[in-house]
C-alpha cells in the first residue's frame, strides 16, 4: 500500500500556524515579487472568485473589501516547515518520496496487518500535532490510486481527510465517481481524445479502453497510468530527488533601474545564488543565459527585452567564471535609456561535475579554484548568505532588491525574527 500525504493550502497554512488570530479566516499568499496570488486557503477560495495568477494591483481592492489577509511569499518559512512535515512522515515509514514542497508518497508495504484507516488518521493527527499543519491522506495499492484517494479525502466530508482504497470494490467505486480530469498524469490532449471516444470517467478509461488502444495512443506513460488505475503498481517510489536540468532565477527590482552598473550587481548576485545550488548538487553548467526586460505592464515606458545564451568554453560551477561570462553577456544586450524591471540568469546543460571535459587550450580545472568555492560556501552557510561574495555584487543590494512589504517573519530560521507574543496585551 502507498499513502499520499499532502498539506492543505500549504503556504497559507504555514502562515496561520503562527497567527491564531487568522484561524478560520481567508488567507492568500502572493508570488515572489508580489505579482499575483499563488495560494489561497479554503476560506479565501469560498469567499469570492479571487482569480489566481491575476496581477495583484488589479485585485488588491477586492482582497481588502473582502477582508482577505494577504502575505508576500516567505519561501524560507515554507521550506523549513516542509522539512518538518517530511521528517515527521519518516516516523511512519523509512521509505518516503518527497514529491513536492507539500506532497509525499509513503511506502506502507510492511503495514499489512494494521488498520489502514486508523493508520491514516494517525499520520494526519501526528503531522498536525507536531507541526501545526493540516494534511490529507490517501491510501491505495498504487501511486495513481493513492493520488485519487487523496483528492477524495478532501472532497467528501465524511472521510475527514483520510481515504483508504484497500479493496478492488472500493477502488472501482472511486473510479466510477472520478472524472478523467482528476486522474493524475492524464493531460488535456489525451482527455479530449478519450472524451471523443465516449470515455469520461476514470472507470471507463481503466476498464473499457483496451490496453492496445492505450499503448498506441498514449504511449508507455499512459499504459502505466492505465495499469495503476487497475491496481497494478508500476510507478515505484523515487527516493532520491532528481538533479535539476537547469537552474535559474529572475526577480523584479524594487525600483526600475537604468544604470548598467547596478544591473550588473544584481546579475552577479543571482549568479552567486544559482551557482551555489549547482555546487550543492555537484553539477556544472555548459550554457548560461542572461536576459533583461522592462515593465511590460506599463503603457508609459518604452519597452525592450532581450536575452542571450552563451556556450561556456568549459562547463563550470565556479561563481567567478560564471559572473565574468554573465557580465560580458549583459553588456551585449544592455541598451541605455530604458527603465529595466528585471534581470535574470539561467544555467543549463547541466552535467555531473566529474564528467566535465576541458578543452585542449585550457589547463585542467584548477584544484585551488574549487577549494576556494568550497570555502566560500562554507563561510556563507555558517555566517549567512553573501557574507563572502564576488566584489562585483557590490554593496548596494538595498537599492535594487525588492522589499517584500507583507512578508511574515522567518519564525523558524532567524533568531531575530522569532514569533513574539506580547504578554501584556490582554
Amino acid at each position: 500500500m502507498i499513502a499520499l500525504v499532502d498539506c492543505n493550502s500549504f503556504y497559507a497554512s504555514c502562515e496561520q500556524v503562527f497567527r491564531p488570530d487568522l484561524w478560520g479566516k481567508p488567507v492568500v499568499v502572493l508570488s515572489n515579487n508580489d505579482g499575483c496570488v499563488i495560494a489561497a486557503n479554503k476560506e479565501a477560495k469560498a469567499l469570492t472568485d479571487i482569480p489566481m495568477f491575476e496581477p495583484v494591483f488589479k485585485i488588491k481592492k477586492l482582497l481588502i473589501e473582502n477582508q482577505v489577509n494577504f502575505f508576500s511569499s516567505n519561501y524560507t518559512l515554507y521550506g523549513e516547515m516542509s522539512q518538518r512535515v517530511m521528517n515527521t512522515l519518516k516516523l511512519f515509514s523509512p521509505q518516503v518520496e518527497i514529491y513536492s514542497i507539500d506532497e509525499s508518497f509513503i511506502d506502507l508495504a510492511n503495514m499489512r496487518f494494521v488498520n489502514l484507516n486508523a493508520h491514516g488518521h494517525q499520520i494526519k493527527n501526528t503531522v498536525l500535532q507536531h507541526t501545526g499543519l493540516p494534511v490529507g491522506v490517501g491510501i491505495a495499492p498504487t501511486k495513481v490510486l493513492a493520488k485519487l484517494a487523496n483528492s477524495m479525502s478532501k472532497k467528501i466530508t465524511g472521510y475527514n481527510h483520510v481515504c483508504v482504497l484497500d479493496t478492488t470494490d472500493k477502488c472501482i467505486k472511486a473510479l466510477k465517481k472520478a472524472e478523467l480530469k482528476n486522474v493524475w498524469g492524464i493531460g488535456k490532449q489525451h482527455r479530449k481524445r478519450l472524451n471523443n471516444q465516449g470515455i469520461f470517467s476514470a472507470y471507463e478509461f481503466a476498464y473499457e479502453v483496451s490496453l492496445e488502444w492505450v499503448r498506441k495512443n498514449m504511449t508507455v506513460v499512459g499504459e502505466r497510468i492505465w495499469r495503476e488505475l487497475r491496481g497494478e503498481s508500476c510507478l515505484s517510489l523515487a527516493m532520491l530527488p532528481k538533479a535539476k536540468k537547469a537552474i535559474g532565477t529572475a526577480k523584479s527590482f524594487g525600483k526600475k533601474l537604468t544604470d548598467l552598473g547596478m544591473i550588473e550587481e544584481a546579475c552577479a548576485y543571482y549568479i552567486s545564488e544559482v551557482s551555489e545550488v549547482l555546487r550543492n548538487q555537484n553539477s556544472c553548467a555548459q550554457y548560461i543565459q542572461v536576459f533583461l526586460q522592462t515593465n511590460y505592464h506599463s503603457d508609459r515606458d518604452a519597452q525592450y527585452s532581450k536575452s542571450v545564451t552563451v556556450t561556456l568554453s568549459t562547463a563550470t560551477n565556479n561563481t567567478y567564471m560564471l559572473t565574468r561570462e554573465a557580465k560580458k553577456a549583459l553588456q551585449t544586450i544592455y541598451k541605455p535609456g530604458y527603465r529595466y524591471k528585471k534581470v535574470g540568469v539561467n544555467l543549463s546543460g547541466l552535467i555531473p561535475q566529474e564528467y566535465v571535459q576541458t578543452n585542449i587550450f585550457e589547463q585542467e580545472i584548477s584544484k585551488d579554484r574549487s577549494q576556494l568555492m568550497r570555502t566560500v560556501d562554507k563561510l556563507n552557510q555558517k555566517y549567512g548568505k553573501s557574507t563572502v561574495c564576488s566584489a562585483l555584487v557590490g554593496n548596494r543590494i538595498s537599492q535594487w532588491e525588492l522589499v517584500k512589504n507583507d512578508r511574515s517573519p522567518r519564525y523558524t530560521t532567524q533568531w531575530k525574527e522569532l514569533l513574539t507574543i506580547d504578554s501584556e496585551c490582554l
Binding site: 491564531p20 488570530d21 507536531h130 523558524t412 513574539t420 507574543i421 504578554s423 501584556e424
Partner: protein, 123 residues
Amino acid sequence: MEFEELYKIKMPDEVHQAGTSKQTGFPSPATHYLESTIDLNSILTTNRDATFFIRISGNGWKAHNILDQDVLIINRAAPVKHGKLALVVTDGSFKIERIPTTSVDDLEFTVWGVITYIIHAVL
C-alpha cells in the same frame, strides 16, 4: 573591521571532540574515556521537527517565571498533561496556562504546545 577581529573567525566547532587533534608524544590517557561535548540542541530539543522557539515581550507572565524577552522552547509533540505549562490559544490569541486536572478534551482553550524550557538571558 579591526585587524584583531580576524582571529575570532574560527572553523566551526561541530567536529570538536577531545582526542581528535593529533598528539605526537605519549598517547592520551583519556583515549578510552572519550565522550562528545554537551550539545544543548540535543538536550533541550528532543524532537526537532516539533520544537519551536517563541519570544515573550513584557512582564505579564511573571507569575509563571516568564520575563520580558525570554524565549520559550515549545515541544508540540510533548503530551498535554495536568500541571504542565503550555502556550494556548483562546479567541484567536496566545496565552500561557497551566493545564488543569480536567480531561484534555474538556479544556477551555486549544493547546498550541507544551513549554519545556524558558531561556532567560542575563547579559
